[in-house]
């Protein structure tokens, strides 16, 4: 087939991807955007199928079949609460695909793939021009090396993120030396890339890049705790895009470069948004612990004798006289699968002619936008989901805030206590409301390990117990009056 025509179709596909993401800028156009993007993908794949010659189709068809079944089953069966796990896995597969493409391309150009592990240890004598003449060869080999490295990091990093999100791995492990150990590993991997660029037949070097990349992915993500996962997932999302763009350079393919850079920037921007929302630098999230808290803060001193608790029925009575209510959900709501119960409570409140909105902190949940998806699943209209900057000025006119499963993002210490580890982190100013109800199992601290003075404030009521049960009881009591 005429390569110009193929490239033209790739261009059309690239434009459709761009229109697809543009559609995502509004909830109303988002479904159509996603469809446009999928059409672009179909075009690109079909034209590639038609343009390749002499291919052994058994492997291709087997791969497409297996991939379609696995992907389809995952997509249709996954629960909305588990969406972070799904995205983590997809990131990993993206990285894995780029990794294997780069390796396949390397061995193809090399002209001699090893048939056993021992073969790999014997360097091949090859002409550098196998990968292109002069600077072109150097560039091609560098691109292959970088794709292998980033692809491998994304693969294992995402798998670790998945096991953490699925709570299969609860502890945090790190490389001795922390960032220094990781730094040494990065430098060693770059050296290995250099050795392959200088001597393309050095298969041991290529093997070393793969190995170090896989290790690096493990060591980078294992030390990172649950609440920092939104940053990690966004960053790995970005890596999978960068790896795809690099694979585009290896194959000289325009649509891979366009799509890869869109994904790469998307992940980076989300990473940035998440870091700002936690008032921490990326380096601090990846390598740091939370800053030490100056003098030790004694939880008992803050809570002693000041915490008031209440029963769901009492809250229902208070709700009756409210005019405006804001619900603040957090990861605890996802854990309790309470999103439908929360929607029913909101319906019951609204039935009394009371205004209800939801205040969503950017890092609530385990990935960007996690709470919004859960509440959308429970059929909460998206215009009731209000982001932090817009909801904060309204708390002073709010009669009651119901916090369910959120902690650190409501901690007023972030605003008021200079020297506190979370000082400077933007929070939802729920304490400005006339009454605050916190639904929580106990007074245990959140991810930051800090007591929350909000719980001890005179206008705060604690409702202890399972989030879903407490919400259902409130709804029942409210409906009976």
């Amino acid at each position: 087939m005429n390569p110009n025509f193929v490239n033209f179709i790739y261009l059309v596909a690239g434009v459709l991807f761009i229109l697809g993401i543009k559609g995502l800028t509004k909830p109303k156009t988002a479904v159509r955007g996603n469809l446009l993007s999928a059409v672009g993908m179909l075009l690109a794949i079909v034209i590639t199928f038609l343009s390749i010659n002499n291919v052994d189709y058994t492997y291709v068809i087997a791969g497409v079949a297996v991939g379609s079944i696995v992907g389809g089953v995952m997509a249709l069966r996954i629960q909305m609460t588990s969406m972070p796990q799904m995205v983590a896995l997809l990131n990993g597969f993206g990285g894995g695909a780029s990794l294997t493409i780069a390796l396949a391309e390397y061995f193809t150009k090399l002209g001699a793939a090893p048939t056993s592990f021992a073969d790999m240890l014997v360097p091949l004598v090859v002409d550098t021009s196998a990968f292109g003449i002069g600077a072109e060869g150097t560039f091609a080999l560098t691109a292959i090396g970088l794709t292998v490295l980033i692809g491998a990091v994304t693969l294992t990093g995402s798998l670790v993120a998945f096991t953490k999100l699925q709570e299969l791995m609860k502890k945090s492990y790190g490389l001795p030396g922390g960032p220094i150990g990781n730094g040494i590993l990065v430098i060693a991997a770059l050296f290995a890339i250099g050795s392959v660029v200088v001597d393309p037949g050095n298969m041991t070097g290529m093997l070393a890049i793969v190995g170090m990349g896989l290790l690096l992915g493990l060591f980078l993500v294992t030390p990172i705790g649950g609440a920092d996962m939104p940053v990690v997932i966004a960053l790995l999302n970005s890596y999978s895009g960068i790896a795809a763009a690099l694979a585009g350079f290896i194959l000289g393919n325009t649509v891979l470069i366009i799509a890869g850079s869109l994904v790469g920037t998307s992940g980076l921007i989300l990473t940035q948004i998440m870091c700002v929302a936690m008032n921490r630098s990326l380096a601090n999230v990846l390598f740091g612990k939370m800053a030490p808290g100056g003098e030790e803060i004694d939880a008992d001193e803050i809570y002693a004798g000041k915490v008031t608790s209440a029963q769901p029925e009492e809250i229902a009575m208070m709700l009756e006289v409210a005019k405006r209510v804001v619900i603040v959900p957090g990861y605890g709501m996802a854990m309790a699968q309470a999103q439908h119960a929360v929607r029913e409570l909101a319906d019951a409140i609204e039935a009394k002619g009371i205004e209800v909105e939801y205040g969503i902190h950017p890092v609530a949940g385990r990935m960007p936008g996690h709470m919004n998806v859960l509440l959308a699943e429970a059929e909460v209209p998206y215009d009731k989901l209000v982001e932090m900057d817009r909801i904060n000025p309204t708390f002073e006119d709010t009669d009651m805030v119901i916090v369910i499963g959120a902690n650190d993002v409501t901690n007023p210490m972030a605003r008021d206590v200079e020297g506190s580890p979370i000082y400077g982190m933007p929070i939802l100013n729920v304490d400005k409301a006339r009454n605050v109800v916190v639904i929580k199992r106990s007074l245990s601290p959140g991810f930051a390990g800090l007591p929350n003075p909000l719980f001890a404030m005179s206008h705060t009521l604690m409702v202890y117990g399972d989030g879903k049960k407490a919400v259902v009881e409130m709804t029942t009591a409210l409906n009976q009056t």
């Binding site: 991807f17 761009i18 697809g20 993401i21 543009k22 995502l24 800028t25 909830p27 955007g33 996603n34 999928a38 993908m41 002499n54 291919v55 492997y59 291709v60 791969g63 696995v70 992907g71 389809g72 997509a75 969406m83 799904m86 990131n91 597969f93 993206g94 894995g96 695909a97 294997t100 493409i101 390796l103 396949a104 193809t108 793939a113 048939t115 560039f139 997932i233 966004a234 795809a244 763009a245 585009g248 350079f249 194959l251 393919n253 649509v255 891979l256 470069i257 366009i258 799509a259 850079s261 869109l262 921007i269 989300l270 960007p368 936008g369 996690h370 919004n372 959308a376 059929e379 989901l385």
Partner: protein, 93 residues
Amino acid sequence: MEVLILLLALFALSLFLGVELITKVPPTLHTPLMSGTNAVSGITLVGALLAAGTDGSPMLVNILGFIAVTFATINVVGGYLVTNRMLAMFERK
């Protein structure tokens, strides 16, 4: 070399376009944005098909090609389906 420069130009412009586009996506849609871009990054399927190996290429290349095609297809199929599922929930109201 000319081709390389053109590819680099495309890369640079796409990065700027990406920044312009993504910053306009509202936080409500950040999760579908991530799964949707995951689907887009399944474009590596095109690369995987190209690299899957021609007739008579060594076994190792075939296996690598098979893995690449499988992974990329999971991203494409899984990514678009799950994104569609989520977005349909937002569209309902």
